[in-house]
């Protein structure tokens, strides 16, 4: 199993290590609840170095992205980023990703760890013209600093006025930590104000420790994958393999807003057809009425009829009840409707809610 550059630090801090996509990462340090609450009220630091980073460069880089993304890359300017996905010819999602424009002809893609190899294969298959695809994942560590106190934590380590001005979805490429170059974007996966830091592997441990030490009196704590999941679920962010898959279009995941490109990209025909006919399935988010907890894969019913399944379910520390997202027949349940989640052969009541359950608080 693979280890991130922060593996020893996690052991030192009492991280409970688990296998995630072939990587050893902490699921928690103290408790998922504590780390979740800390991130919502102060700051949580996450090691997500397992994620993939790919640089696309060259005069034909933009044209390349135009051919693959349903979200128009020409809307980007240097220093800006956007959430998007790679679709197959059926409109199914190969991976969801963030695309940063570093400069004219230079883009930085951040992809899921479990999909990196498949993504690289897909990108290379479609490579054409004067461009280069460079997988920099192996040398890149990624530290997410999320929460209302995250700007304070960063300010104590970086002493760079530009951080205070950094707008959401934008990136600073030339930050420095003790001589090590660090890229910082104002993005995240928690629903809180936060930042994602990209640093060469060799400098990761020093940066991680400096952030936690400097962040101590701001109440910053290390947080694991368990809290990362409950945070993103409350914010109703998709997770590949759950809300997204090669057999799920962005429309079926409630991501129709991603589809805005006027260019000819892979999957466009299928997506346009689905858009006009209406997708066969849609994504809902819901809150349990009672105390039972929905889990991935549980059936969803309405009026005794099977209408779909839970794509992600858990206990929500913020709402103190079970919450989840589910993929159901289009039209079978909308906001305000009562549904049943089948939990151990019993129907437990839930209510479809407006997405997101927890609104972005940055």
């Amino acid at each position: 199993m693979k280890k991130t550059p922060l593996f020893d630090e996690h052991l030192r801090r009492g991280g409970r290590m688990v296998d995630f996509a072939g990587w050893q990462l902490p699921v928690m340090y103290t408790s998922i609840m504590d780390e979740h609450v800390a991130t919502r009220t102060r700051a949580g630091l996450f090691d997500v170095s397992h994620m993939g980073e790919v640089v696309i460069s060259g005069p034909d880089a933009c044209g390349f992205l135009r051919r693959l993304l349903p979200t128009d890359p020409e809307r980007l300017a240097p220093g800006a980023s956007m959430y998007s996905c790679l679709c197959n010819s059926r409109g199914g999602v190969i991976d969801d990703l963030f695309v940063f424009m570093l400069d004219v002809g230079r883009y930085y893609l951040v992809v899921n760890a479990a999909r990196l190899d498949i993504d690289l294969q897909w990108l290379r298959e479609h490579c054409a013209g004067d461009m280069d695809i460079s997988d920099v994942s192996g040398d890149t560590a990624k530290i997410d600093v999320q929460g209302p106190r995250s700007p304070d934590v960063l300010a104590r380590v970086f002493h760079d006025g530009r951080l205070g001005e950094l707008k959401r979805f934008h990136v600073l490429q030339d930050m420095l930590f003790e001589g090590t170059p660090v890229m910082i974007s104002r993005t995240g996966y928690t629903g809180e104000r936060g930042y994602e830091l990209y640093v060469p592997a060799a400098g990761a441990a020093a940066l991680w420790n400096a952030l936690l030490e400097a962040g101590q009196d701001a109440g910053a704590v290390p947080a694991g994958l368990g809290a990362r999941n409950t945070l993103r679920l409350e914010a109703c962010y998709s997770l590949y393999g759950h809300e997204l898959s090669e057999d799920t279009t962005p429309l079926e995941a409630g991501l129709q807003w991603l589809i805005n490109s006027p260019h000819d990209y892979v999957g466009k025909e299928a997506l346009m057809r689905q858009k006009s006919a209406g997708p066969p399935r849609t994504l809902i988010c819901f809150e349990m009425v009672g105390r039972a907890i929905p889990r991935d894969g549980y059936r969803i019913e309405r009026g005794g009829r099977d209408i779909g399944k839970v794509t992600s379910g858990s206990f929500s520390p913020t709402f103190s009840r079970g919450i989840g997202m589910g993929r159901v027949e289009n039209g079978a349940a909308t906001v305000g409707d009562e549904i049943d989640i089948v939990i151990r052969n019993r129907r437990e009541q839930a209510r479809v809610a407006q997405r997101p359950l927890y609104a972005y608080s940055g």
Binding site: V27, M28, S31, I32, M33, G226, N229, T230, R291, A292, I293, R295, S314, F315, P317, G322, R344
Partner: protein, 133 residues
């Protein structure tokens, strides 16, 4: 250090059973188990009156992340359940051998003790599991 009280018996699935003076047997999960589960947020308890055999799944404990089955340490009839856990599932984390008890059995066969672990044997099991982590 995992708490392993002397006056109870243990199972390999990390349940404990304590034979009370009135003849009933109180059951729960061990300190090691609650530590592994971490934040317990939901407990589903059996119906009083239900007859169970040793090893039957009789309760479910849910942490934030996972669902875990609890097995009957001995056979018998469920005579009481800890309804306080409905509002306060975290009691099982805080006091797994006291206020966090799960259910009580009556009519258990004390001969079944032979198949249970005594505190020393359970301590060895916990030590072996902790080593593997």
């Amino acid at each position: 250090m995992s708490l392993i009280p002397e006056n109870v018996y243990y199972t390999e699935q990390h349940e404990w059973i304590r034979f009370e003076p009135d003849g009933a047997a109180t059951c729960g999960i061990t300190d090691h188990a609650q530590e592994m589960l971490n934040d317990i947020v939901f407990v589903e308890l059996p119906e009083p009156g239900r007859r169970v055999r040793r090893g039957d799944p009789v309760a479910v404990i849910e942490s934030v992340k996972a669902v875990s089955d609890v097995y009957a340490p001995a056979g018998g009839t469920i005579v009481r359940v800890n309804s306080a856990l409905e509002e306060q599932p975290e009691l099982t984390n805080r006091d797994p051998y006291g206020e966090g008890w799960l259910f009580a059995l009556e009519g258990s066969d004390r001969d079944e003790i032979a198949g249970l672990l005594d505190p020393a044997a359970y301590g060895d099991l916990v030590a072996r599991e902790e080593e593997q982590q």
